[in-house]
C-alpha cells in the first residue's frame, strides 16, 4: 500500500490544486506514480466538515486528511485529528510548542510527525542544533518532494542518531507534483485510524517516483 502522506490542495492558501484534479492526474500517471491514495495535510487548519468520499468512490483512490502545523521546532504533520486535539491546540498558531504537541497528540489518539526536517528554520535538524530533542517522535519525513538540494540528505544523521522511522511525502502544492514522493506500507490502510496505527507500529519506508516521471518524460 502506497500513500502520499503530505499534500496540499486549494484549501491551503498557497496551493491552487483541486483535489479532483490530483485524482485525474494520478489516474493518468498510474504507471509512473503507482500510489493508492493521499493524505491532505492543509496548512494550519482542520475542517471537520470536509468530505471526499464521493471523489474516493469516483476515482478509486483512498483520501485521508491530516494537517500541517507550525511549531517552535519546525513544521509537523498531524494525523488522526480529532476534537480533543483541536480543542487543545490552535492550528493557526505558528509558535506551537512541539515538546507539548507531539506527546499530547499521541495521548489523544493521533500521531504528530516532523516534516521536511532538513529544511532551514522550519525543519527539525536546524532546531536540534541548539535545543534538546523532542520526546515521543516516532518518525520523520526523510523524503520530501519540495526539498531543495541537500535538505533530504541532511536528515540521515538525525535518523542514525535518534533511530526514527522514516516516511515520504510529495508536499505537493501543484497538480503535477502529487505522489512524486510517498510512503510504502507493508499492511493495507483503509482509514485514518489504520494510518495512525501503522505509523506508530507498522513497517514503512519512503519511496521516490521522480526517476519514473523523468524517464517517461525523456522517452
Amino acid at each position: 500500500m502506497i500513500l502520499d502522506l503530505h499534500t496540499h490542495s486549494e484549501a491551503s492558501e498557497d496551493s491552487r490544486a483541486p483535489v479532483e484534479t490530483y485524482l485525474k492526474w494520478l489516474q493518468r500517471k498510474r504507471a509512473e506514480v503507482p500510489i493508492d491514495g493521499l493524505v491532505l495535510t492543509e496548512h494550519r487548519q482542520w475542517d471537520p466538515h470536509a468530505d471526499y468520499r464521493a471523489l474516493e468512490d469516483k476515482y478509486e483512490f483512498l483520501i485521508l486528511r491530516g494537517a500541517e502545523v507550525e511549531t517552535d521546532y519546525g513544521h509537523v504533520l498531524v494525523y488522526g485529528v480529532n476534537k480533543d486535539i483541536t480543542r487543545h491546540f490552535d492550528f493557526t498558531n505558528v509558535r506551537l510548542s512541539a515538546q507539548e504537541l507531539i506527546p499530547a497528540v499521541t495521548d489523544m489518539g493521533g500521531i504528530a510527525l516532523p516534516c521536511h526536517p532538513g529544511r532551514p528554520t522550519v525543519g527539525l535538524c536546524a532546531h536540534y542544533d541548539g535545543k534538546p530533542p523532542i520526546e515521543g517522535v516516532i518518525a520523520v519525513e526523510a523524503l520530501n518532494g519540495g526539498s531543495r538540494r541537500g535538505e533530504n540528505e541532511r536528515v540521515q544523521e538525525l535518523i542514525d542518531r535518534y533511530g526514527y522511522k522514516t516516511f515520504g511525502g510529495s508536499d505537493s502544492h501543484l497538480v503535477s507534483f502529487i505522489g512524486i514522493c510517498a510512503t510504502e506500507f507493508d499492511r493495507d490502510i483503509r482509514s485514518i485510524d489504520d494510518l495512525v496505527t501503522e505509523l506508530r507500529e507498522g513497517v514503512y519506508r519512503p519511496v521516490d517516483f521522480r526517476a519514473n516521471l523523468a524517464k517517461r518524460a525523456a522517452s
Binding site: E13, H43, R44, E70, V94, R95, T121, V122
Partner: protein, 144 residues
C-alpha cells in the same frame, strides 16, 4: 515569545474610489498592452467593446493599504506581492462608472525557510453604476 498577531484591522475599509466613466480608448490601450488578440477587446465598435477580464487590476484607488497597517501589525516595510485572485463578474463596457471599495480581508502568519512572515489579504470589490459586481480582487502582500 513573539506577541500574538493583532488582527483588529480585519474587516476595516481603507479605500473607496469612484472612477470616471470607462473609455473605449482605455479599454483598447489595456488590451493592446496585455497582448490581447480577441477583436472583442480591440477592434469592436464602442457599443460592442468589452474590457479583458484582468482590466480591473489597472484601476488604482487612492490608498493601496491602510495607513496604520505596519504600526498595528508591528512589522517592517519589507515585503513583496504574494499574488492576487480575481473573481470576475459582469464585463466592463464603455461608459461604465466603476466604484472600488477596499477592505482588509485577512491577516495571518506563516513560517518558511527564511523565517516568519505576515500575510495581509486586501480585498477590493468593484461594482458598476447598476450595482452589479464587476470583480472581487484579493491582493496578497507578504510583509515582515
Amino acid at each position: 515569545m513573539a506577541p500574538k498577531l493583532d488582527k483588529s484591522l480585519i474587516g476595516s475599509e481603507f479605500d473607496h474610489t469612484e472612477f470616471p466613466p470607462v473609455t473605449a480608448e482605455h479599454i483598447r490601450e489595456y488590451a493592446a498592452a496585455a497582448l490581447e488578440t480577441n477583436p472583442r477587446h480591440l477592434t469592436a465598435n464602442d457599443a460592442e467593446l468589452v474590457a479583458p477580464p484582468t482590466y480591473v487590476v489597472s484601476l488604482r484607488g487612492r490608498h493601496f493599504m491602510p495607513a496604520n497597517l505596519q504600526t498595528v501589525l508591528n512589522i517592517g516595510r519589507r515585503g513583496f506581492d504574494a499574488g492576487k485572485d480575481i473573481e470576475c463578474g459582469v464585463p466592463v463596457r464603455v461608459g461604465d462608472a466603476l466604484t472600488a471599495t477596499s477592505t482588509v480581508h485577512d491577516i495571518y502568519e506563516k513560517t518558511g525557510r527564511s523565517g516568519s512572515m505576515v500575510f495581509v489579504v486586501l480585498r477590493t470589490k468593484i461594482t458598476n453604476q447598476r450595482g452589479e459586481s464587476v470583480a472581487v480582487i484579493d491582493q496578497k502582500m507578504m510583509l515582515r
